[in-house]
Amino acid sequence: MNNQGNVAAQNKFATKTEWDLIKAVQDGNKQAYHMLYQQYIGRVYGLCYRLTGDKMLAEDTTQEVFIQLWRKIGNYKGDSKFSTWLHTVASNITISYLRKQKSWIQNIFNIEDSVAMNAEAEASSCSVDLEGHIIRLPERARIVFVLHAIEGYRHDDIATMTGMAVGSSKAQFHRAKQLLKEWMGND
């Protein structure tokens, strides 16, 4: 990117300090990367936690995100806000990680519904906040709900990211909302 492009990106999408930090990381500066990590760990972990619904998985995926981000950050050209770009990268890595982690048994028998039923029992037994309800959603419904309602992705984007059909994404979102309505109505 030329200097003019750098300045434009700086003005539009990042403060000078953040842009300098990103450039330093792109040049392979690990100290700068640690600073970037400290700046974004909360947002990345928050996203990973909501997508996975599990603290340990969220920790694993967060680490995976930052390991892969180190390799991918050279692709960031300043065409969008860094946090937006980072969230896309983090979402894709987390979804991919979940796919790899998911056993073939889960794929064949789709046992996430039984997990959801257990979660439903837990959720109805005590009063929890929205985040507590979200992490109890079945995996696919949770991922779609987080990406659409919280991260602001469109269903066709979600379909691309998750590999499901656009209609499935909409159906999962509807399902998530129905479950949330049910649980929140019991609060």
Partner: protein
């Protein structure tokens, strides 16, 4: 709960969700460990190592090249010629004059030493004449050096004490 009230409640709670959430343990150590073994970092390290090796190689080649070039250009037959003969002659004259100054107060052991010195000068001039035609002739250069050395030896010998000659 009606649909509209649920939508309102959901909307409100979504805006209240804290985007940031801190992990319970420090994840940086694991990340840093992975980065240490990351190919990109290794590539960087390798590049810098290759760079250093390359610099060393270039420096080595440059040194050997310079030595080679000097060796080739320092060969007597290459440097011979009028410049070399002039340089040798100037050096010899300085050495000879310094010796004569040193021994100027000492009596000479023979009377005809200056004649011998002059004959050697003539011999040196004859060789220099020959070198003008054949500046790269090593035999002539050695002869010139030999004549110069004979003059130095002559001066030293005729001015040395007798006991040292025994």
């Amino acid at each position: 709960m009606t649909n509209s009230s649920f939508e309102q409640k959901l909307e409100k709670q979504l805006t209240e969700i804290k985007e940031e959430k801190q992990p319970e343990k420090d994840l940086w150590q694991g990340i840093e460990l992975a980065l240490t073994h990351d190919p990109r970092l290794q590539e960087t390290n390798t590049n810098s190592l290759v760079g250093k090796k390359l610099h060393l190689l270039v420096a080595t080649v440059a040194v050997f090249g310079l030595i080679g070039w000097l060796s080739l250009n320092y060969q007597p037959n290459r440097l011979s010629g009028e410049d070399l003969v002039r340089a040798l002659s100037e050096q010899h004259v300085k050495q000879k004059e310094a010796l004569l100054v040193t021994f100027q107060d000492q009596p000479a052991l023979t009377e005809n030493w200056q004649q011998q010195l002059s004959e050697l000068d003539d011999a040196a001039d004859a060789i220099k004449m020959a070198l003008k035609n054949e500046p790269n002739n090593m035999a002539l250069l050695r002869m010139l050096q030999s004549v110069h050395q004979q003059q130095i030896n002559l001066i030293e010998r005729v001015h040395s004490p007798k006991w040292s000659q025994i």
